[in-house]
């Protein structure tokens, strides 16, 4: 039993524990448990502290079901390490921001939060496709209930929409997984990958494309990639603060993680062939999400659409197949988790005070609540990619990688950086500047200690990740180099006609 297994199963233990414990103590118990899990999970950093191993660490591979051979195979690498830590960090924060917000069915609420943590960690560390699928579904359910029970007025609609969109995608993925199993006799990601690598498993072009698309659509819905994004604004608007936080910060990363882990490495040829289309969708998403965010009258919708825009950068980075693009994409996954998560928390703070998500209900908040205003400002600046804050590094690397793949893409994608400043600064102006009305001033106390405790770690991370990116980047970089090497090798082996790379080079030079 490795530390990784402990980190994975502690939330499940916590979930069961919460069900047993009396209702009154569940809030505190969830807080303590998730904090302990976070502290324990920091131990996962150990192998990555002084060196950057490219292979798996904390690997466990035991049989789960003998036939069909489904294995409990989990492991950590530079890609999943930070996503796991992001999940374990955000769970106690989610518990903390729910402290006063949640007043009904408290026990179930915190239990679901821990179950969600169990699911998402599992997704990020599964090395068996079936196990991955199981965790994928496991994580879906608690979120469904978080939205459906503790959400706002139209929560059922939003929850069902969320559920069905994701399910529609995952059914396709399940089909593809089973197809792979039929061809190989195994669900093990490493084995299948190895077969593809050595050439003992070869698909014809059409099959590969279909398999790729099956995975891709599942992940694209989760990310979400334009035009599969419309479930997201509804889900965010209706979800409670912690739901939005976990949804945006962690669950959306399941999609981008899947793209990078499975789509690109299992079907590199199809991925390369589809790259221009996907990059096109990503760029449309960047600009479209930003423009629609610009005109939202509802804060949470605005942040939700901004997520569509931000995640466009992640997808774009992945499908440039450049080192910088991939590094930027992974870094941007973490950045988005931190800064958009923080935005949802802050919007939640505003909501708890004024019980409205309409921007027009605010104005002049900076006067009664200066500290809230400052923290919101820093988060806004992080979100619009101001240098020395985290998003800048990710966006820079993605765009630098994009520019080397295709300069025209970089031109269009960079437009998103202009629009992000427009919608965020406009939101900030309408919410915080101006003169506060009498009624607003009376219901707008400044940040409480508990609120500070929830938001400060994220703000510090924004600065740290923006100023000292090398704390995080090397382990990510090593992993991405390996992924890139795998896809490259396969392509040069498989693609018979060398015309394509030449065309790419000439286009890049133009």
């Amino acid at each position: 039993m490795t530390l990784l297994d402990i980190v994975l199963f502690l939330p499940l233990v916590g979930f069961l524990l919460l069900l047993i414990l009396p209702k009154e103590s569940s809030r505190m118990a969830a807080m303590v448990l998730s904090s302990v899990i976070f502290v324990v999970s920091l131990g996962l950093l150990m192998p990555y502290w002084f060196q950057y191993p490219s292979g798996h660490t904390f690997s466990t591979d035991v049989q789960w079901i003998s036939y069909p051979p489904i294995r409990y195979h989990v492991a950590l690498d530079g890609l999943s390490l930070w996503l796991v830590l992001l999940s374990t960090l955000l769970t106690p924060i989610a518990a903390l921001v729910s402290w006063n917000y949640i007043d009904k069915r408290v026990k179930e609420y915190y239990a679901f939060l821990l179950l969600l943590e169990f699911g998402v960690i599992g997704v990020f560390i599964s090395m068996d496709l079936f196990l991955f699928y199981v965790f994928w579904e496991v994580s879906l359910v608690p979120m469904y209930f978080l939205i459906g029970i503790w959400g706002h007025e139209r929560r059922i609609y939003a929850a069902v929409k969320f559920f069905l969109f994701t399910m529609a995608g995952s059914v396709l993925m399940l089909g593809a997984i089973i197809f792979l199993y039929n061809r190989t006799g195994t669900f093990d990601y490493g084995q299948i990958q190895g077969m593809i690598q050595t050439g003992s498993l070869v698909f014809d072009q059409r099959t590969e494309l279909v398999l790729f698309l099956a995975f891709f659509i599942a992940f694209a819905i989760k990310v979400p990639i334009f035009p599969l994004h419309t479930w997201l604004p509804d889900a965010h608007v209706e979800a409670p603060t912690a739901g939005s936080l976990m949804l945006a910060s962690v669950m959306l990363k399941m999609g981008t993680y899947g793209l990078l882990r499975f789509c690109v490495t299992l079907f590199p040829d199809a991925a390369h062939r589809c790259a221009p289309w996907i990059a096109g969708l990503a760029i449309i998403g960047i600009i479209y999400g930003a423009l629609v965010a610009l005109v939202q009258p509802n804060m949470k919708k605005l942040v939700a659409y901004s997520s569509v825009s931000h995640l466009g950068f992640v997808v774009l980075g992945i499908f440039t197949f450049t080192q910088q693009g991939l590094d930027g994409a992974v870094y941007q996954m973490l950045n988005h988790g931190i800064s958009t998560g923080a935005l949802f928390i802050l919007v939640g703070y505003l909501y708890e005070r004024r019980h409205s998500l309409e921007i027009s209900a605010y104005g002049g908040v900076a006067t009664p609540a200066p500290n809230l205003a400052i923290i919101f400002l820093i988060t806004t600046l992080a979100s619009i990619g101001l240098p020395t804050l985290n998003n800048f590094i990710g966006e820079y690397l993605v765009l630098q990688g994009t520019a080397s793949a295709n300069f025209g893409w970089a031109v269009f994608a960079s437009l998103g950086v202009i629009f992000s400043a427009c919608y965020m600064l406009w939101l900030y102006q309408r919410t915080f500047f101006g003169r506060a009305s009498e009624s607003l001033s009376h219901h707008m106390p400044d940040l409480t200690t508990r609120e500070w405790a929830a938001i400060l770690p994220l703000v510090l991370l924004m600065v740290w990740m923006g100023s000292f990116a090398q704390t995080f980047l090397p382990s990510i970089s090593v992993q991405n180099a390996a992924i890139l090497e795998q896809t490259k090798k396969l392509r040069t082996e498989r693609v018979a006609i060398p015309a394509r790379p030449v065309a790419e080079v000439s286009r890049a030079n133009r």
Partner: protein
């Protein structure tokens, strides 16, 4: 190691101290932290430059310090490195020197304002970013400073955040600059892709060894994209529109950020990357034309403005245009020279204007001033020095640098010289128009009524105009000395190791004509606003169309609003959101959604408890899947 990092870190410490604890600190403590940190930084600059021999003929090579690796991805390595060469030395002296004076002045100017600690925290943060900008040894670090100063500009323009016009102006500044940064960023991507490094020394050395482009190519692309960035930050056509609005900020901010230092960042950036520009056939010409057009257009607008800060704002735009002309015609050192002298006299003009506004309890409209020479003699004398300097009075700082630019322009293309000279005449005219309207004639203010309703919100209703305290006029006096004598600091010679001077003496008459234009402008202003004050109005009435056009700044803001802002916002709202997202995409999904609601309802009814229902889901799914696999697996 010279510990260059101390130069920006000291103001950063000031920012952190005042920003975090400032609310609980007494004003004198805030002053000590804010002014002290910048003064220490200035002293450290002097000490460092002295140690590097900049004052004694040394520092011919770039001196560089490496701190840590910031970003490493593949072959691309971006470090936090600071470097000093002679160009940086000039910038450091200007930024910390003028910056210190303005900090001192601001302690007087802002003494009656709310948010005192906040103001100085922002000002210190600005110094940090500005110093990072000039010290950064690679493109990305320059970009850090570049965006950072933009942020501080945003914060300080919107300092009076209760007023909508101030926050609107702040947003406008940030967003227009972002459009410029879009170009800058693309240039960085091109450099990063083609050179695999962003380090200035490495890139410039490589560029030096490459052939000059005969047609538009990589270097032209990079230079023009950099120019887009520079037009944003340095308020050149077409992105100058934010700077006049930026005057919504407190006057020391206008002096420091929107006149003396930040807006010159574009000039610095082009000078820093001059090697790339020199390798392109067109880029420099375009820089010169952009600069010349801006200088001319902004000067014409300046002729008809009534707000004293607006006049100086357009004057800044116009003078920055001169610097661009200098760069564009290849006289990089003349451009930097003008950057320095401009920092002296324009900072003085703004601080003097601030002193005037202070005296008139927040009034900024020159039509409500007049006759102030009786009340504020020191301010008048210092402002006179600045006005003479900008008007190109012989031997003063402005004349020295401007003449160098004009002479180089003549070498390049005589018509550029003549446009420049004409603009110099207009400059002298509008600056002295402001001077005469403010200090001559009778005082036209309404003491009782003008109760801090000025744009600056800077009033305390004392009634009679009054001279400013010593902390305000001493910086003015120092800047006045620099405005008068700054021309004798031989910057072009100092910069020779970086920008070689052209051979040959220019014709003397070029200088005489330029001087005559300046003096003519002063005389005309004297005639119009002192001798026969009725004249301007009758002329304005005669040329009503032209006057309306320039009084309304050629309606450029309105043009941008109707061609860019409204279509984007309206299109996003009506087309993308309401039609595209809600009706088209979501309409399709809702078809599924409404079915889903029914299905969801049934499923919800099928299970009694939530947790059990969840478990059932998983089990059902797993059973189905396994059954499926079992079937397929058997048939394999």
């Amino acid at each position: 190691m010279q510990q260059l990092w101390l130069i920006p870190i000291l103001p950063l410490l000031g920012f952190l101290l005042n920003g975090i604890f400032g609310k609980r600190l007494a004003k004198p403590v805030i002053n000590v932290i804010a002014v002290g940190s910048v003064l220490l930084s200035f002293l450290w600059v002097v000490k460092t430059l002295n140690a590097l021999g900049a004052f004694s003929g040394g520092l011919e090579q770039t001196y560089k310090e490496h701190y840590y690796t910031w970003i490493q991805s593949g072959a691309l390595n971006i470090s936090v490195d600071f470097a000093i060469d002679r160009l940086t030395a000039v910038m450091l002296m200007v930024v910390t020197g003028v910056g210190s004076l303005i900090h001192i002045y601001a302690t007087g100017y802002m003494s009656h304002e709310g948010g005192y600690y906040r103001f100085f925290a922002y000002l210190n943060l600005f110094m940090f970013f500005m110093l990072t900008l000039v010290l950064g040894a690679n493109f990305l670090l320059l970009f850090v400073g570049w965006e950072g100063v933009g942020l501080c500009s945003y914060l300080l323009i919107g300092f009076y955040f209760l007023e909508k016009f101030a926050t609107d102006a702040g947003n406008k500044a940030f967003i227009v600059n972002r459009i410029g940064d879009f170009g800058f960023a693309l240039a960085i991507f091109l450099v990063g892709f083609h050179f695999n490094t962003l380090d200035f020394t490495t890139v410039m050395t490589q560029v030096k060894g490459m052939p000059i482009e005969t047609s538009a190519g990589l270097f032209t692309g990079i230079s023009l994209l950099l120019l887009v960035g520079a037009t944003g930050k340095s308020a050149q056509i077409p992105l100058y529109v934010w700077l006049p609005d930026a005057m919504a900020g407190p006057t020391p901010v206008s002096a420091l950020i929107h006149a003396a230092t930040m807006v010159t960042a574009g000039v610095y950036m082009i000078a820093r990357t001059s090697q790339i520009y020199l390798h392109s056939t067109w880029a420099l010409d375009i820089v010169a034309i952009v600069g010349l057009t801006t200088a001319f257009v902004a000067a014409t607008i300046g002729l008809a403005q009534n707000d004293i800060k607006k006049v100086f704002a357009y004057s800044t735009v116009s003078q920055l245009g001169y610097m661009f002309v200098g760069l564009g015609v290849g006289a990089f050192s003349a451009g930097i020279f003008h950057l320095m002298t401009h920092a002296f006299f324009k900072a003085l003009l703004f601080l003097g204007a601030g002193s005037v506004i202070h005296a008139c309890s927040g009034e900024q409209d020159m039509r409500h001033m007049g006759g102030l020479r009786k009340y504020t003699p020191i301010t008048m004398v210092t402002l006179l020095c600045a006005s003479l300097a900008i008007a190109g009075f012989p031997y003063l700082s402005g004349a020295a640098s401007k003449d160098l630019i004009l002479e180089a322009a003549y070498e390049h293309a005589p018509w550029m010289y003549w446009v420049g000279v004409f603009t110099a005449g207009m400059t002298a005219f509008y600056v002295f128009r402001a001077f005469f309207l403010t200090f001559f004639g009778e005082y036209k203010g309404k003491p009782a009524a003008s109760h801090g309703h000025g744009h600056d919100d800077h009033g305390h209703g004392h009634g009679e105009p009054h001279e400013s305290p010593a902390v305000m006029w001493i910086p003015l006096a120092i800047l006045a000395v620099l405005s008068l004598g700054g021309g004798f600091i031989n910057i072009p010679h100092f910069l020779e190791p970086i920008f070689p001077l052209q051979e040959g003496e220019p014709a003397r008459w070029l200088e005489y004509v330029a001087t005559a234009a300046g003096l003519g402008g002063i005389a005309l202003a004297y005639l119009f606003y002192v001798v026969s004050p009725g004249l301007p109005e009758s002329i304005a009435n005669t040329f009503k169309g032209v006057h309306t056009l320039i009084y309304n700044k050629y309606f450029v803001d309105e043009f941008y609003d109707s061609t860019v802002v409204e279509p984007v916002v309206g299109g996003s709202r009506q087309l993308l959101w309401r039609v595209g997202d809600v009706r088209l995409i979501d309409g399709l999904a809702n078809g599924i959604g409404s079915t889903a609601r029914g299905v969801g309802g049934i499923l919800r009814r099928a299970q009694s408890g939530y947790i059990r229902s969840y478990a059932a889901w998983v089990i059902a799914g797993a059973v189905l899947a396994i059954a499926y696999i079992g079937f397929w697996g058997a048939s394999r």
